[in-house]
Symmetry: C2
Subunit: 326 residues, 2 copies
């Protein structure tokens, strides 16, 4: 019987190897938080992208270099951390100069935007895969964790959801370039925007955060589990892009928003008392922030259809073995 | 025309993405050195092991978990750093519980020995590969770099050389278990001992250091290039194990010591004035340290046969595209 990804990690890699007093937060969040003697905590994360699993085999190399860094900066964003350095482990089947030029251009394009310096890594021969380790800094005590959600908190997401999943569908069917909407959706798949600024802006306001890599249901589920709470999502509130609505009916769009992966938006929770502060932060940002539900004491995730009735999804995201941060 | 690994890294990944004043040493040594506000520098490294490239497809999973961490701790050892934390990115084709139990046992066995805590990572589906990011601490200003060798310095290596290369040959030919010598050589292949204690002990004494992952000639070559010097190695001084000498003639043994990979011993340089201090450190250690040559001003690596005549090797290690830290 195959184990789910979460089980794999829990069983074999949460064993205490060494009890170190410099560990503020270990395995199990978007990044580890470590004490260094600085007034800030060091945030360390590492994500792998494997060809054919995390990006299409025919993805443009520029987008692979970009996205491999983006998914790691998204993990730092979900802690509220300010990125600093990256290490790159690149495994390629052979050396193609044109491929490397494009790959590194994508990587550096995003690195420059966030003042991230590449400081090391490894280059190996093998099936195409990219692992990036990103490091950043966050005020000790303020860092956003998955475990801080409390009953009564509102649930918020940045941007729009489901676009990348639809973009992947269009890309795979050769429809990725048929019109402007399709191109926008494919762009969302290939070049997710890590919400670094938003993550930092909500420090001290949000009670919990995670980035949506697998899908809203699965990733919000991590917050619920680690916070020991449940939630209600009103699916009529899910933020959907114009491109999505031009390509899908509402019901399918909402299903994609709940269960589609790869958007790399943030899912936040915040107490009602700070909702005004959160709205104010969002207003000064160029990223929409939408309230989609609330945290409840009763465990489990309940989803309401647009008419308010409980919705049953055939598939609550994928707690699969293919992707995602532990 | 295929580029060598070194060229790949130099061309595409040493571009300045961000000039950050917190970088003491970036791409190009065994680990990066970073300023954190602590009195020590943070050392960060990352190495990938791909099945069939860096370990045999049929290597026992316990040895894969052990070795993936060992090669990274060896990089920290080559900086003189004290290991602290690790992140693990594990890519496996499928979830086999027995495999994971053994893999993690190997990982944790070594982690415990060095007080290393696993603090995060990623688990993905794909062709078997392991990437580990290791972090440690070293006194600012004392860290061992590749660039510090000066003419007149002695060249030293820890332990014995060539064992892992011969172990691999025996393993591949099904001779890995024929006798105690064979088992010792295979053990050296599967379970290299990172010279963490020795690396820390020679801080302030050694002028340069690197770990021998590709082979002595290639890795010493990095010291020579980055220090702007040359060297002479007296092959009659190369430390060879009893197991090696039981399996090989002297000439072949010395060839393996010069050009075989995977030993993960340290290669150090030190000024003549501190040779007594170095000998004293080695005497209190349980790891032999052998002087094998000297640094010279004239660029290039010259190897002397046991009769003192210049030796010509058909293959100076492998500046290949398969392995090694940048």
């Amino acid at each position: 019987m195959p184990l789910s990804e979460f089980e794999v990690i829990r069983r074999y890699f949460m064993e205490a190897t060494a009890v170190r007093e410099d560990i503020l937060l270990g395995v199990g969040d978007d990044a580890a938080l470590l004490r260094t003697g600085s007034t800030e905590s060091l945030a360390l994360c590492m994500d792998t992208m494997v060809a054919g699993v995390h990006f299409p085999d025919d993805a443009p190399p520029e987008t692979i270099g970009y996205k491999a860094l983006a998914v790691n900066l998204s993990d730092l964003a979900a802690m509220g951390a300010r990125p600093a350095w990256a290490l790159l482990a690149l495994t390629v089947p052979n050396v193609e100069e044109g491929w490397l030029v494009a790959f590194s251009a994508g990587f550096y394009r995003l690195a420059r935007m966030h003042d991230v310096a590449l400081v090391g890594g490894d280059t190996t021969r093998g099936p195409l895969a990219v692992t990036i380790n990103a490091a950043g800094w966050v005020d000790e005590g303020l860092a956003l964790r998955r475990s801080g959600a409390r009953p009564g908190d509102g649930i918020y997401v940045t941007g729009t959801l489901g676009d990348a999943a639809l973009g992947l569908r269009l890309w795979r069917s050769g429809q990725g370039d048929v019109d402007e909407h399709a191109r926008q959706l494919v762009e969302r798949l290939h070049r997710p925007v890590p919400r670094v600024r938003m993550g930092r802006a909500v420090l001290g306001i949000a009670s919990a955060a995670i980035d949506i890599s697998d899908c809203l249901c699965a990733d919000l589920g991590h917050i619920l589990k680690q916070s020991g709470v449940g939630a209600v999502i009103e699916s009529g509130r899910l933020p959907l892009s114009a491109a999505m609505l031009a390509k899908c009916r509402g019901g399918e769009a909402r299903h994609l928003a709940l269960t589609g992966g790869d958007d790399y938006e943030l899912c936040l929770t915040a107490a009602p008392a700070v909702e005004a502060a959160l709205v104010s932060v969002a207003a000064t940002s160029d990223v929409p922030l939408t309230r989609i539900g609330r945290i409840e004491a009763q465990p489990g995730l309940r989803i309401l259809a647009i008419d308010g009735r409980p919705l049953s999804l055939d598939r609550f995201g994928f707690d699969h073995f293919g992707s995602g941060a532990p």
